[in-house]
């Protein structure tokens, strides 16, 4: 591992995203706080894992940092530039360097567009000056880079397996030489025997291209394997953030402990022992408190604050 430079690729400050709730008969307008006051940064070449139960706000954060679904408040700075201050044209140019890989590659692909055309579209949109032959060459080399046979350029999405489709999506994501990729459950829809292939590919691309990842996943085993640091999200707030080894070996927040204690172990004796000794500590109800540093780079939410609204 190279020592990461000090400045972050992406810096998220006090990000909140809420959605208005309105009763049918026009009652009191309330808001649902999907994400509240979340701050983190990701350094060049670093992978930050984002874990938490469904509905905890993981994907909301993923869509907010790429400005696919801009936040209600807070700032997102990419390589030091506040994305909210950019003109639409400048945002479009910057976005080429921030990419997303989604959970379901079949839904992400266009069924009527060949795999080659889909990857080439990135160049057609962002590099219109590129000559056709140059473009074709670039796409073929991207195919080779992600482990796809360049002979498959003319094939359509339904002719590929799930793992190959995710490779196509990754090829398009890296086409414009991004420095930051949001990977939102990139292996969740893939077969077990294919998951390691895609994780190895993501790791190789990071090593070769110096990419930074926000890796959103519910697979706590893969998160420990792939991520340098991990943020645990609960009820829309980060309740713990630490180096991944530290988080897995010394979890402090009750929710983190509960989450890690729930991971099944592929070893019969160890798994039976885990089931027998299951920890059932529940985090106190209410809104998680602000983060406090309990060790170098290890942040844990303080005791819950009184509930403001019923979430």
């Amino acid at each position: 591992m190279k020592a990461a430079p000090a400045y972050p690729v992406i810096s998220v400050r006090n990000l909140s995203k809420s959605y208005p709730l309105r009763s049918w008969w026009g009652g009191k307008a309330d808001v649902f706080r999907a994400v509240e006051d979340v701050s983190f940064e990701i350094r060049p070449g670093e992978t930050l894992g984002l874990v938490g139960e469904s509905g905890s706000g993981k994907s909301t954060i993923g869509r907010a940092v790429t400005m696919l679904n801009p936040p209600t408040s807070g700032t997102i700075a990419f390589e030091g530039i506040d994305l909210a201050r950019l003109s639409p044209q400048a945002l479009c140019r910057t976005r080429a360097r921030i990419q997303t890989v989604f959970q379901d590659p079949y839904a992400a692909l266009n069924p009527r567009m060949s795999a080659g055309a889909y990857v080439a579209e990135a160049f057609r949109l962002h590099r219109p000056d590129m000559a056709r032959s140059e473009r074709r060459e670039a796409v073929a080399s991207l195919f080779a880079r992600v482990g796809l046979d360049p002979h498959f350029l003319g094939r359509y999405p339904h002719q590929f397996s799930g793992g190959q489709r995710q490779r196509i999506c990754i090829a398009r994501a890296i086409a414009l030489k991004p420095s930051f990729i949001v990977a939102d459950e990139p292996i969740a829809a893939l077969d077990v025997s294919i998951q390691a292939q895609v994780v190895n590919l993501l790791q190789d691309l990071q090593d070769d291209l110096g990419l930074s990842y926000l890796f959103i996943s519910h697979d706590l085993r893969m998160v420990r394997y792939l991520c340098h640091r991990v943020a645990v999200l609960w009820r829309g707030r980060i309740v713990e953030l630490a180096e991944s080894d530290r988080l897995y070996e010394d979890p402090r927040h009750p929710y983190t402990r509960r989450l890690l204690a729930a991971v099944p172990l592929p070893d019969p004796a160890a798994e039976r022992a885990r089931l027998a000794a299951r920890e059932t500590t529940n985090p106190a109800p209410g809104r998680p408190g602000d983060l406090v540093e309990v060790g170098p780079g290890h942040w844990v939410a303080a005791d819950p604050l009184p509930e403001e609204t019923d979430r």
Partner: protein, 348 residues
Amino acid sequence: MTGSTTRPPLLDVSDLAVSFDTEGGAVHAVNGVSYTLAEGETLGIVGESGSGKSVHVLAMLGLIPRPPGRVTRGKVWFGGRDLLALPERDLRRVRGGEIGFVFQDPMSSLNPGMSVAAQIVEPLRIHLGLDQRAARARARDLLDLVRIPNTKGRLDQYPHEFSGGQRQRVMIAIGLACRPKLLIADEATTALDVTVQAEIVALVQELRREIGMAIIWITHDLGVVAGISDTVQVMYAGRILERGPVDALFRDPRNAYTLGLLRSLPDLSRGRAGRKRLQQIDGAPPDMRTPPPGDPFAPRNAYATPRCRAEMPPLSQAPGAAPGHLVAAWYDLPALLTREAAQQGHTP
């Protein structure tokens, strides 16, 4: 639970084969699956999509749509009858009666327009012939059994008023309503959060101790299977590639696919500094319209021999392995691993 017994097995699946007719030709989803399940035994079935793990139980229960599905051969003995030969009327009495089942997505299995009470009461009245009062009382007991708090008030609520984990608990309550001898859970915790999964798994373990039913637990998660199974069965491309007592199978895998699955999982106890590249299984599962002629895993298997590519090995006792540890392989995996370790100059 898998010890020798003179009693006939609870379930005896014999040479079951299922295919689906599609425009691109017949998809051979299940290709000759045979196994037995003892009373009170928990069988974990592991496999990925297309392995036939779900289709074969749906076929057993007469739940595959026909057409396009077809059971092309086989017998499924349960309680002295061949389920595949039963008329639909009789099969309906078995489903939800002696055999309960829980599927992956509770929201699509539950009827959104029917209260939870009505959905639990229905099988009780049909299968056990209880009157409305008795069935309601039993429904309340069942929700207690699956640990849904404040049962009385919740009985008349609708599925959308329950959380995902609670809906799956309701499904389990329905599955257990008629005290089945066999509960089939097909990816029952896959859509749930890991913390909720842990609760459901613990619940099923407790219920098994209380009720003593046999369980077929179908999943792709080797971790879940490790903790709850007596016997584990690994399926791939519509076949059983390996089957054995849980400890033996995890400690001493005999099929290269099982070994590949176990090795591809990152070690949760290993820190980032000491980690190695994940051992991936290259390639992808075969197209079941044109399954490879021999061992279906051979094209992805570095240990495959020419015979593997030509001829399907039978599922039989693995030499030198625990009794009842069966494998379908022409190669001798332990010998190959020992040789590999010797070549690399260290022991595995």
